[in-house]
């Protein structure tokens, strides 16, 4: 006979404000099999847990039902409490009367009724629960970091420092990411390259770090502690082991008219190139879209001038298979395309630039060697208009609904530096709100206004029009003085919203890591588990999780590394015992389950069976690899003969829950 204890939590007023918890515990106390029922203000507190533990011992409970918050929040807490009191942890069931009841209903009478029904379902289920024992799986002591920007670099360095191997996969020919393109960094104005490139070099020199540049993750299989990943190393037509990075080929290549992606197309490069002087690895790459030799077999200049013999036009993409215990996503961001914002004339005038292009125009290693010149005529601009929130905080559907977070600060930086270097330049900044929360951020912005005389105007630019005389006529509104403004500008700089890298969505699917509607990766808990994906073993670093500046990215990268180290430090991981199991006598070997299994956990065996008539038959039956199975339950639904079942969530248990809910 089952002896079940019911524990109803108030969650302060979270549950008790909408659900009559006393009525719930009384009603559930009358359910068959329930010998003990109680309610308490905070069941997850130590005192609350002790109530559960004491009741298990004193009442000799065989099953426990906790009516509280989502099992995602505290199932582990209560299972642990049960285990410490000597009850198998899988004899604990959670009825979610917070997220699925009190938080979404207003009427106390009906919410209470629903809470009772949810509790009843859990009681019906726990009656059929069987004790389960978790197995163990080994941990591969190596981490994969996808993306080699500042986020990926910092995570990799921190993990490597703890003594674990780390691989960085970067799709560009060099690591470094967006930060390599920046000039100065707010709020201290240190040069981006000066603080980043030493870290890039550290990555290259660290014996625990392997960099796969110009490579992409192609396939991810396995699970936490045991990921198997296929990495596609794209052909760069240069032997990385031989190339010395001397750069001779990049000077001699006759194909000079390739838009230079590193400078955002503001100048050109050759078909064989090293993105920038401090690239890591400092190895040349041939752009197959422009190389004459690869396109029509005529040229070969780079091979002739290369003293190291590193050029290899026959090089093919290479697939590398590696195993990892943990995966860190650090795929970063890009500014949005401005096709939906034609009113700013970005496509009509070269003198309308994005803020990232402005970084290149002021960077000493940029196309103008750091002198601010207009792209159209190479003249010094005397009036510059900065437009903030281009596509950020946009509910019209043209842009992004969120705040891109970094634009207020980098625009203040651009405006301030322009005024410092070129005091004869008039600088206007149009804003919706200036948002500067961060250490020394607001002081920085105020300096731009108060010391450097930047004209900050609350209002938006409605239209930018190129004029015949080469000026840009800017039409805008000043919301504070309620005036229409017309400014004749030489340069307009658009603070374009940022969005997750295009590869994020497909990567999220590969990793079965959840994402939000804007393609940012979702964290396991927005406050308490901010660097973990809900998918075990997947960690998040940098802007792939949400807009961030460099200080915040580096902090998060370090946090992700700490989580990775915590995982890799373990020799064994406890497996989830709620895995699929096939009844071999009922299985007809149809392969339906194998086809739907997303983890490749099901195989088929030809097995001998002693039949009732004492003959021996060989039958094909399904077999589940419990270490690989994640307990998703897809196979139990697909199985036509009802042979497949999920431990802890058996068909009988689920039907019992449904019956309990539907019972009058």
């Amino acid at each position: 006979m089952q002896r079940i204890g019911v524990f109803v939590c108030w969650c302060g007023s979270n549950i008790a404000g909408t659900v009559d918890v006393k009525a719930v515990s009384e009603a559930l106390g009358r359910e068959p099999g329930v010998v003990y029922s109680i309610n308490y203000q905070y069941m997850c507190s130590e005192a609350g847990q002790n109530l559960v533990k004491d009741a298990i011992r004193d009442q000799k409970l065989t099953g426990v039902v906790i009516c509280s918050c989502s099992p995602r929040m505290h199932e582990a807490t209560f299972r642990k409490a049960a285990a410490s009191a000597g009850l198998n942890p899988y004899m604990v069931e959670i009825a979610n009367i917070r997220e699925q009841c009190s938080w979404i209903h207003k009427d106390m009478a009906t919410a209470t009724e629903k809470a009772i029904i949810l509790g009843r379902a859990a009681i019906a289920k726990v009656q059929l629960n069987a004790p389960l024992t978790a197995g163990e799986s080994p941990v591969t002591k190596r981490a994969l970091v996808i993306g080699g920007g500042i986020a990926g670099i910092q995570t990799a360095l921190d993990v490597a420092e703890a003594g674990f191997e780390v691989d960085i996969v970067e799709k560009e020919p060099t690591i470094g990411g967006k930060m390599t393109q920046l000039d100065k960094t707010f709020p201290t104005l240190d040069c981006a390259a000066c603080i980043l490139t030493p870290k890039m070099v550290d990555c290259a020199q660290n014996e625990n770090i392997t960099i796969f540049s110009y490579s992409e993750v192609q396939e991810v299989k396995g699970f936490v502690g045991n990921f198997r990943v296929k990495i596609k190393k794209k052909a760069r037509y240069v032997d990385e082991t031989k190339c010395t990075g001397c750069g001779l080929c990049t000077e001699k290549c006759p194909q000079k008219k390739v838009p230079n992606a590193f400078n955002l197309g503001l100048d050109t490069r050759r078909a064989i190139y090293i993105p920038f002087a401090q690239a890591v690895p400092k190895v040349a790459t041939i752009d197959p879209d422009y190389c004459n030799m690869l396109k029509n077999g005529k040229c070969g200049v780079c091979a002739k001038v290369c003293t190291a013999g590193a050029i290899n036009y026959q090089q093919q993409d290479e697939i590398i298979e590696r195993e990892y215990g943990a995966i860190v996503v650090a795929t970063g961001y890009n500014p949005i395309k401005l096709d939906n914002f034609e009113e700013y004339a970005y496509s009509q005038s070269p003198d309308v630039v994005t803020s990232l292009e402005f970084e290149r125009l002021t960077n000493a290693a940029g196309p103008t060697s750091g002198t601010l010149l207009r792209p159209s005529d190479g003249k010094h601009p005397h009036t510059i208009v900065f437009v903030q929130c281009v596509g950020s905080r946009d509910t019209s559907g043209c842009g992004k609904p969120y705040c891109s977070k970094i634009c207020c600060m980098y625009t203040a930086k651009h405006a301030m530096l322009t005024r410092e270097k070129y005091p004869d330049t008039d600088v206007y900044v149009f804003y919706i709100d200036v948002r500067t929360p961060g250490k020394n951020f607001d002081e920085f912005y105020r300096r731009a206004v108060e010391e450097y005389g930047v004209h900050y105007i609350k209002g938006m630019v409605g239209k930018v029009t190129p004029r015949a005389d080469g000026k840009l006529s800017v039409q805008a509104s000043d919301l504070i003085s309620n005036e229409q403004l017309h400014i004749d500008a030489d340069l307009v700089v658009l603070a374009a919203a940022i969005e997750p890298d295009k590869t994020a969505r497909s990567l999220g699917t590969m990793l079965t890591a959840s994402m939000d509607t804007n393609d940012f990766f979702t964290e396991a808990h927005p406050k308490l588990r901010p660097v973990e994906s809900p998918t075990a073993g997947i960690f998040l670093s940098g802007v792939c999780q949400g807009p961030k500046d460099i200080p915040e990215t580096v902090s998060q990268a370090g946090a992700a590394a700490a989580k990775v180290i915590g995982l890799l430090a373990k020799n064994k991981l406890t497996c989830n015992p709620c895995v699929a199991h096939s009844d071999e006598w009922m299985c007809n070997g149809c392969s339906s389950c194998e086809k739907v299994c997303p983890y490749g956990a099901i195989t088929y065996l030809d097995k001998e069976f002693r039949m009732p008539d004492r003959t021996v038959a060989i039958r094909r039956v399904a077999s589940v690899n419990e270490a690989v199975c994640q307990g998703c339950g897809a196979c139990t639904v697909a199985c036509p003969s009802g042979a497949m079942d999920l431990k802890g969530f058996s068909n009988r248990q689920i039907m019992a829950e449904v019956d309990a809910i539907c019972k009058e």
Partner: protein, 268 residues
């Protein structure tokens, strides 16, 4: 190619040249425009009031007329096009409006926005093709610098009109190029001319039109084209002294380039 054609009131009075040149040019281009029988005024301006039904019913009747003939509906006047297209969008997307309008009209079969409304310019771009049009030109307008004036109604709201990018359009520029002339892009080509404001504040309409004309002239335009009778009125009758530019309907240029008779039917 046979299409239903909705001219609208102004095109039968003040803006006869817009209508006549369009129909004669269509004939030359092998397009048959069949004027809708018993069409009524489109309402003149699309009412923004959510519960306004009566003023939009004439537009719905015209749309349903084309549906019954099984033809796409061609429009020409910017204002009529705007009203018909928006009313059609309401019939397809706004359930409340569509139900009320259908209840009121008691049609044999309820109308749900089935008719495709296309502007004459879209007809030239998508059915004839500007490349093909260029081949048909007999008197190319070589050397002419022409500013396209879109006004506000032809392209907006962009999501409903779906003709061109309302902030950086090119359909009229491509049209001008097809006729052999040189398009002049200027800032206020998609700004308001003053519209109906001229009825109560002529000075404001004059200011708005003046800004358009000045801007176009600065960029070197010596002629403006429009598809809207009200724009043409404001840009000519309300032009401030010293800012006058000739303004014609785009179909007048089309007829001229195709070598079609451009004389008015009423001989004026």
């Amino acid at each position: 190619m046979v299409f239903s054609y909705y001219p609208g009131c102004t095109l039968k009075n003040k803006a006869q040249r817009l209508d006549q040149c369009a129909r004669r040019s269509a004939q030359v281009l092998g397009i048959e425009l069949q004027e809708l029988p018993e069409w009524q005024c489109c309402g003149g301006a699309y009412s923004m009031a959510q519960d306004e039904i009566a003023s939009k019913l004439a537009a719905v009747r015209a749309l349903n007329g084309a549906k019954e003939l099984g033809q796409d509906l061609v429009t020409l006047c910017s204002a009529c096009h705007n009203v018909l297209k928006q009313a059609n969008h309401d019939m397809a997307e706004n359930e409340d409006f569509s139900r009320n309008a259908n209840n009121y009209m008691k049609l044999a079969e309820p109308y749900r926005g089935e008719t495709k409304v296309i502007h004459y310019l879209e007809l030239l771009r998508d059915q004839v093709g500007f490349e093909e049009l260029a081949k048909r030109v007999k008197n190319p307008l070589t050397g002419k610098k022409i500013g396209a004036y879109y006004g506000c109604l032809l392209l907006r709201p962009g999501k409903v009109m779906q003709m061109d990018n309302p902030e950086n359009p090119k359909i009229l520029e491509d049209f001008i190029r097809a006729l052999g002339a040189q398009p002049v892009v200027y800032a206020s080509r998609n700004e308001c001319c003053g519209g109906y404001v001229t009825l109560e504040d002529r000075a404001l309409a004059s200011k708005k039109s003046g800004a358009v004309l000045e801007d176009a002239a600065q960029m070197g335009a010596d002629l403006l084209v429009t598809a809207c009778p009200l724009c043409l009125y404001n840009l000519t009758k309300n032009a401030p002294t010293g800012h006058q530019l000739p303004v014609v309907y785009f179909t007048e240029l089309l007829a001229q380039a195709l070598g079609v008779d451009t004389a008015r039917e009423d001989g004026r």
